[in-house]
Assembly symmetry: C2
Homo-oligomer: 340 residues x 2
């Protein structure tokens, strides 16, 4: 039977009849004689010794924890990221601390200052809005931070971002190939990083493919959520008759899809729908929704690895990574083929 009460190095050392330094060495795999090693192992086992993480942290100045701050724990994109981050981080021997900030930049600034309490060794941050004070706080942080998402030009911080302009380009190109001409856009708030980027991507792509767009082909949801999407789609359909709709994320796409079918408009027959982020929601929808994969999982993975690299080598040059988008074509944008 193994002792279940809390035991320390001192206890183990006493039982083994050696010094605590020796115990520490053996347990950390440093050179020691076989006899010593044996004695220590035995004593440690008998006492059910488990080293104390806090004490170790205080001594070595590391916590082996990485913090991941997300604006919305429920957002499927963040969930996908978390999934990936969790995997990479734990494989590298770190624990994952989840910090849920709201989308309020102030929360994130507070997070940064609390980071300096040293409860984690580094931070992964995916801000929805990047304000001036946030940038300042990021710059003056003592701990390594990797940003997932775009940064204002000139801000030199490790970061990995998506190329949403190229992503929307893929969507528009695909729709054009399918013979669509009047491509509408359901966006989320334009004062967010993704909202702004996606809008500019839409406008750029429309022009690049020689199409035109007008104000009544564009609506903005108050939020990147299903509910807001329903309302925005309703507004869109009241003011125009597109033959294709690009949505700034999958939730908005699902909402748009629902709004369409509830009005008896067929997808993809009458209107094609394309989402972004390529989350489960797109795959599970009925019909399943074509979606631009902005590489959430890849971004998260790259970011986590970047942070781990930085922790190992604090002096490494700043690295900025761009993940290329891909398109997952599904039912919502392709007319059923005539099967023989």
């Amino acid at each position: 039977m193994v002792e279940t009460r809390k035991s320390t190095l001192v206890l183990v050392a006493e039982r083994a009849g050696v010094s605590i330094a020796s115990v520490s060495r053996v347990l950390n795999g440093l050179p020691a004689s076989p006899q010593l090693t044996e004695k220590v192992r035995e004593a440690a086992e008998a006492l059910g010794y488990v080293p104390d993480a806090t004490a170790r942290s205080l001594k070595v100045g590391r916590t082996d924890q990485i913090a991941f701050a997300v604006a919305d724990v429920g957002n499927p994109v963040y969930v996908a990221m978390m999934h990936e981050v969790s995997r990479v981080v734990s494989k590298a021997g770190f624990r994952l601390v989840l910090s849920s900030t709201g989308n309020d930049p102030q929360d994130q600034i507070e997070l940064l200052s609390s980071l300096n309490r040293g409860f984690a060794d580094g931070l992964l941050l995916s801000p929805l809005r990047v304000t001036e004070p946030l940038v300042a706080a990021l710059r003056s942080s003592r701990l390594p931070i990797v940003i997932i998402g775009s940064l204002p030009a000139g801000v030199e911080l490790d970061n990995v971002r998506a190329d949403s302009v190229a992503g929307i380009g893929l969507a528009v190109e695909h729709l054009v190939e399918q013979g669509r001409k009047h491509i509408a856009f359901v966006n989320g708030p334009v004062d967010t990083v993704p909202g702004a980027a996606r809008l500019s991507g839409y406008l750029t792509s429309i022009e690049r493919f020689g199409l035109t767009t007008t104000a009544d082909l564009q609506v903005t949801a108050s939020d990147f959520t299903y509910k807001a999407g329903r309302k925005a789609a309703a507004r869109l359909l009241a003011q125009s008759s597109p033959d294709a709709i690009v949505c700034a994320n999958d939730l908005l796409a699902v909402a748009t899809l629902k709004e369409l079918t509830s009005r008896g408009i067929r997808v993809p027959d009458d209107v094609a729908v394309v989402g972004m982020d390529d989350t489960d929601a797109a795959e599970l929808a009925n019909p399943s929704i074509t979606s631009v994969d902005l590489g959430s999982a890849k971004r998260a993975k790259a970011a986590a690895k970047l942070l781990i690299r930085r922790l190992a080598d604090p002096g490494a040059p700043v690295k900025q990574v761009v993940i290329e988008p891909t398109l997952s074509v599904r039912e919502s944008s392709v007319l059923a083929e005539v099967t023989v």
Copy 2:
């Protein structure tokens, strides 16, 4: 400009010309004279002092961290739970450490032993499978643990669980009211806690409402996932013709729905579909899916509060909470009303 290098109590004390004890007191809001307070505040501010969490933890024997172990970070139910846990926990001043164990009980046992390293003050655990060794490990844990989910009879640990038998009862009752007679069941693996509970709930309910079921009305998916659900639903439809299908979770329900519509079977006209867990997936599906809310969010919230209570009062009697299910009726189970 605030000093950005790391500063300690000693530095602040020197600058303020007082003892470190005084600094500690002031910063922790213990009684001190106004002048002292003022001096300390000023020095701390000037140095940009931030207390070190690790040192504090070592001293006070608390980390202010709560660990939440989930089998699958991507599962919507866990996501909903995380959401709630994150909220409760951070409001109570704890950080959330996310530990992703696989569904392997061995992983969870290792987690328990690493918990004894003291990186967290307590653990929320929602095991998919509860094995004998797991129970043993749970029992001998030095730290408070709250289990989300059912426990074998006789295991006295804080826990909060759902009443899935009653939940399926709600679903069956509703379907019976809608005039359905041949109610099939798409389950997940029966060697999991939810799988076993839901199967028994189905059998109990069928009997209670005077219906009958046969082997060909029951299928088991290899997993609680969409893909596995598609296959299971296909098998079911190949072997029987139910007029209603209860699915052991929403993902299976979405899969079943898709399998049905892809065969031209109308929902709810020909077949009614009911899911469980009442996740976003049910709401977003088209048609939206009626789902049994087993109170994931409530359970998570209750569990988190229970753990926090236990941390505050380690001697409190063991508490076992059962959350009552409710039914969210949506389109997939109700024939469209004739609107005047």
